[in-house]
C-alpha cells in the first residue's frame, strides 16, 4: 500500500497493463510527447515508445474508430478523450459501432476497447467543457460505464476495464486527479466492474453518489451526523453500467431511506434510474420517497459565483438528507 494521487493510480494501471499485455496500447491527443493534457500518461512514451503510445491529430471520430477496428482484430486499445466532452464527436463510433459489433456479428467479433478521460465540470470551463458525459453512455446495451471515485477505485477499475473484452467507457474527473489515497501495489490488484462499494457505514439513510459528488456527500454526512445525529450510509456504484443494484438495495432495505446526488442536470439523469429501481424493488421498505439532489437545469455558466450555484453544494445535500429523514 502506498499513498498516491488519482492521476498516479491511473498512470500505474496503464503502465502495469501495458507491461502485462503487448496488445494494449494508448492512443489520443497529446498522450505521448506532452504526457497527456492532464499528465495521466506521463512517462509512458519514454517507457513504451511511439509504437504503443500514439499521439493523434484532432479527429475524435477517426481515432476512436481506429481503436474499434484494432480491437476487432485482436488488439486492446485504450483511447483517451482529452476531455469527455469531445466524445460527442465520436458517439456514432461508440454507440453504433463499438457497442453493437459483438451482437450484430452474432458473437463473432468482440471490441475490447477502453475509452477514457476526464468528464464532468472542472473550474470555470463553461458550457462546452463542463458536462456530465456518462448520460450518453450508461443506457446503451453493449457498453460498460465506469466512474471511479478514489485513487484505489481508479487503479483497480481501470485495470479491470483494460482486461474486459467489451467496450468500456471510463470517465475520470479533472477535479480528482490530485486527490491522494492508499492504493495497493500488487500487479494483480483488480476491482471487478459492476460491483458497488459501501464507502461509509450508516443506519438512517442510504446516500448514493460517485466521483466528485461522493466527496460532497461525505462532508454532508459528517455534518448531519454532528448536527442532527443522522447516520448516513454512502454507497458508491463505481460502475454505472452494469449497475450493482443488489448492494444499493441491500443498503436501502437496511436504512429505509435513500438519497441520490449527481452533478449533472437533473432531468433524466443517473439519479432518475437509481430512484426508479430503488422504489420499484424496495417500495415497501421505503419510509420516504427517494430524494434526488442534482445540478441545476442549465448549461454550465463561466462566472465563478454562478458555477458554484450550478452544481449541488454540501448545503443542498445536508438539507435533502434532513428532509428525507424527516429532520427538516
Amino acid at each position: 500500500m502506498g499513498v498516491i494521487t488519482y492521476r498516479e493510480a491511473l498512470n500505474h494501471a496503464l503502465r502495469e497493463e501495458m507491461e502485462r499485455d503487448e496488445r494494449v496500447f494508448l492512443m489520443g491527443e497529446e498522450v505521448g510527447i506532452y504526457g497527456g493534457a492532464y499528465k495521466v500518461s506521463q512517462g509512458l512514451l519514454e517507457k513504451f515508445g511511439e509504437r504503443r503510445v500514439i499521439d493523434t491529430p484532432i479527429c475524435e471520430s477517426g481515432f476512436t474508430g481506429v481503436g474499434i477496428g484494432a480491437a476487432m482484430v485482436g488488439l486492446r486499445p485504450i483511447v483517451e478523450m482529452m476531455t469527455f466532452n469531445f466524445a460527442l464527436l465520436a458517439l456514432d463510433q461508440i454507440v453504433n459501432h463499438a457497442a453493437k459489433l459483438h451482437y450484430m456479428s452474432g458473437g463473432q467479433f468482440a471490441c475490447p476497447l477502453v475509452v477514457r478521460g476526464p468528464g464532468g465540470p472542472a473550474h470555470q470551463l463553461a458550457a462546452q467543457h463542463s458536462q456530465s458525459m456518462e448520460t450518453y453512455f450508461y443506457h446503451v446495451p453493449g457498453l460498460k460505464v465506469v466512474r471511479p471515485t478514489t485513487p484505489r477505485d481508479a487503479k483497480g477499475l481501470l485495470k479491470s476495464a483494460i482486461r474486459d473484452d467489451n467496450p468500456v467507457i471510463f470517465i475520470e474527473s479533472e477535479t480528482l486527479y490530485g486527490v491522494k489515497g492508499e492504493v495497493p501495489e500488487e500487479a494483480e490488484f483488480l476491482i471487478p466492474l459492476g460491483v458497488a462499494e459501501v464507502k461509509r457505514e450508516g443506519r438512517d439513510v442510504t446516500a448514493i453518489a460517485y466521483s466528485g459528488m461522493y466527496y460532497r456527500v461525505l462532508e454532508a454526512a459528517e455534518e448531519v451526523e454532528r448536527t442532527d445525529g443522522i447516520s448516513v450510509e454512502i454507497v458508491d456504484p463505481r460502475t454505472l453500467r452494469p449497475m450493482d443494484t443488489d448492494t444499493i438495495l441491500a443498503s436501502v432495505r437496511k436504512t429505509h431511506r435513500a438519497l441520490v446526488a449527481e452533478s449533472g442536470a437533473g432531468f433524466a439523469g443517473m439519479g432518475s434510474e437509481i430512484a426508479a429501481f430503488v422504489t420499484e424493488s424496495a417500495f415497501d421498505d421505503l419510509d420516504a420517497p427517494v430524494a434526488r439532489v442534482t445540478g441545476a437545469n442549465a448549461p454550465m455558466p463561466y462566472a465563478r459565483n454562478l458555477e458554484r450555484l450550478k452544481t449541488p453544494s454540501k448545503e443542498k445535500i445536508v438539507e435533502a438528507l434532513r428532509r428525507v429523514c424527516g429532520a427538516a
Binding site: P57, G65, A70, M104, F109, G142
Partner: protein, 333 residues
Amino acid sequence: MAIKDKTTTAGGGRLDATLGRQLLAQMLLIRRFEEKAAEMYALGKIGGFLHLYIGQEAVAVGAISTIQLDDYAIAGYREHGHALAKGADPRRLMAELFGRRDGVSKGKGGSMHLFDRSVNFLGGHAIVGGYLPIATGVAFAIRYEERDRVILCFFGDGSVPQGEFHESLNLSALWKLPVVYICENNRYAMGTAIERALAQTEIYRFAEAYKMPGEACNGMDVLDVRACVGRAVARARESRTPSLVEARTYRFRGHSMRDPSAAIYRTKEEVAQEKLRDPIGGFRDQLLREGLLDEAGWKALSDEVEARVAEAVAFADASPEPPAEWLLEDVYA
C-alpha cells in the same frame, strides 16, 4: 471461394483461363444469388432493407481476387457481393437474409450486417462512412503486429462528403497504413447524383490532398478493377502505402427493394445505356471470343451457379428461427 492465386499485379499479360472462369463464376454467383434474394424479399422471407449489388459485381470480384484469405475486407450495407467474393458460404448468407439461426451472424445481423470471421470479412455496416475509420484501425493493427496483410475497404460515392472519409484518409496517409479505400462510384447516393453532392466529382483526386496514390478504374471491367486494385495492394504490402481507388460503376436496380423503379432521379435511357456495360455479359463474351470459354463451359458454369443458389435457398428455408434466448446473448463478450 476466395481466389487463391498470389498475383497482385494482374491485368498485364494474357489472361489465364482458370482465373477467367473463376472471376466469371463469382460474378454470376453474386448476380443469381441476389436475383433470388429479390424473389425471396417479394415473398416476405426476407425483411428490412435489401440493397442489391446487381451491376457492380466486377468491383468486389476484381478487387478481392487480388488478396488472400488472411487479408481483410469490409463493406457497407450493399455487401452481399463482397461477402460472397471473400468466400463466405452462400447458404449461410441466405440464411442470414432469412433471419435464421444458421445465418453467418446467427440471424441477428440481416442483409446489412453480414460478418464472417472464418474468411476475414468484417461486415456489413449500415452507417454511411462510419466504418472507414474502423478499416483504418484494422490496417493500424496490421502495422502494429507487423503482419503481411492488407484490408480492402469498400464504400459508395455517398461516403465521400462524410467527415470520416477525410479523417480516415489523413490518418492512414500520415501513419502509412496498409489499407486500400475502394470507392464504388455508381454516381448516385440514393437519389442524389454525385454532382449534387461533391464539389469534386473525380473522387480519386481527393487522394492528392493527402499525398496518397489515387487511381480510377472501369468498375464494369473485372480485369481493369483487378489490375488497378492489384497495384494498390502491392503498394500496401510492399511499402505500407494506402491508396484511394475509384471504381466507376453503376447500380442496375433501385437503391433498395423499397426504391424499385429508381425512376425519380435517373432516366430509363440512362439505365438502359448503362446495362449495355453489364460486367458479366461483357466478360463472358470476352472469354468466349478469346477462346478461354466455350458455350458448353458457359452452360456448365451457369448450371453450377444455379445449383448453388438453389441449395442456399433450401438451406435457409430449412434453418429454424433463432431461439428466444439469443435475444439477450452476445450483448457482451
